[in-house]
Symmetry: C2
Subunit: 183 residues, 2 copies
DNA sequence: AAGTACGTACAGAAAAAACTGTACATAAAG
DNA sequence: CTTTATGTACAGTTTTTTCTGTACGTACTT
């Protein structure tokens, strides 16, 4: 024995875990495994190498890589003399975390804020309209309160995302825990 | 016109946005719409009422509600004299956010940490083994470094989750932005 | 104790998604 | 300019997920 199998097994275990983990947030298992495989590679890979590595079609590799690019979990790399596109995994997981969630959260925020502001304004005009039933107006009032506090929450989330993007979050939650008792 | 349609439309728009938003994190559109509908209800609903509200089967309501319960996005409510189970949406979105992500993140952390620690120990024994190829050992060393820094990241994520759970995060990112200039 | 109401397990149907192979557009190489 | 290599659009297939209806267990009611 020369240890190759053991090395492979150790990697495979972690790749599985990574893929399961990403799957929790709606990323396909295959895409997760692709990221995991790239993570353990020494250098960047071409689509054909990925295809080989995962035993899947080149088409799948192409679309999977694109998803990972959108999430900023892999980057395109240029290498002299190599004609094919090369991709490598972003190795810094703090960065990966930040990119992944800021992308998702910002998207969610903008979807919701714009819907809620439109509805808020519609409901407000309902209140001013004489022809609207008293009962409906009361419901509208309740809804307006709900939406107002929801918008307030999104403002908070936005500030949280800002603190991730600007890395200020690390002032509050440092990368390494502080040793209070030096020894 | 009495405004009922307008009210309904305003709600529907927001419900759609909520559901799209939840869908970004791997929650079904239907489950998202159920949460959205419950959010705008005045009181808690029974499974039959939900079925009516969404035009879906009772079985689906049952399983969807269960998912929402696991995410702590709805709660079961008891009401005197009512035999059926009653459910209502958790109205506090700060809390919803915290519960949703702490549940997911903690799950992810434990999956990954345990896989990585096992692999880390396997790789370390590989290094101590004389029969293992030099080349393999070098790869193992690289992997060990990767895993070590990944574990460090998970420690950070764990502390981030702690600060959410304990609400300390609000000391850093307050619910309402501070007014520097009082007016 | 018998009858009724309620929630859910389970199997099958319907819908959605992931995956593949072919065909093509683009760009590099000769 | 022609040939060759590369990535991806698209249509069709396979797999997975979601949804429904029936059947059943449990617990309340009479």
């Amino acid at each position: 024995m020369n240890g190759e199998k053991e090395l492979e097994k150790a990697r495979e275990r972690v790749i599985d875990a990574i893929s399961q983990n990403m799957n929790l947030y709606g990323v396909t298992e295959s895409i997760g495994r692709l990221y995991g495989s790239l993570y353990f590679q020494e250098g960047p890979l071409t689509l054909d190498e990925m295809k080989e590595e995962l035993g899947m079609s080149k088409t799948s590799m192409s679309t999977s890589v694109r998803s990972l690019l959108e999430l900023k979990m892999v980057g395109k790399v240029w290498k002299k003399g190599v004609r094919k596109d090369l991709y490598q995994a972003e190795p810094d997981w703090y960065q990966t975390f930040i990119d992944f969630f800021t992308i998702k959260w910002r998207a969610g925020i903008s979807i919701n804020i714009s819907a809620m502001e439109r509805s808020l304004s519609d409901l407000t005009s309902l209140l001013d309209d004489e022809n609207v039933d008293r009962n409906i107006k009361n419901q509208a009032k309740v809804d307006i309160e709900k939406l107002t506090s929801a918008i307030e929450y999104y403002d908070w989330l936005n500030r949280l995302v800002d603190s991730l993007e600007s890395k200020q979050i690390f002032e509050f939650i440092p990368k390494k825990p502080i040793d209070y008792e030096k020894r």
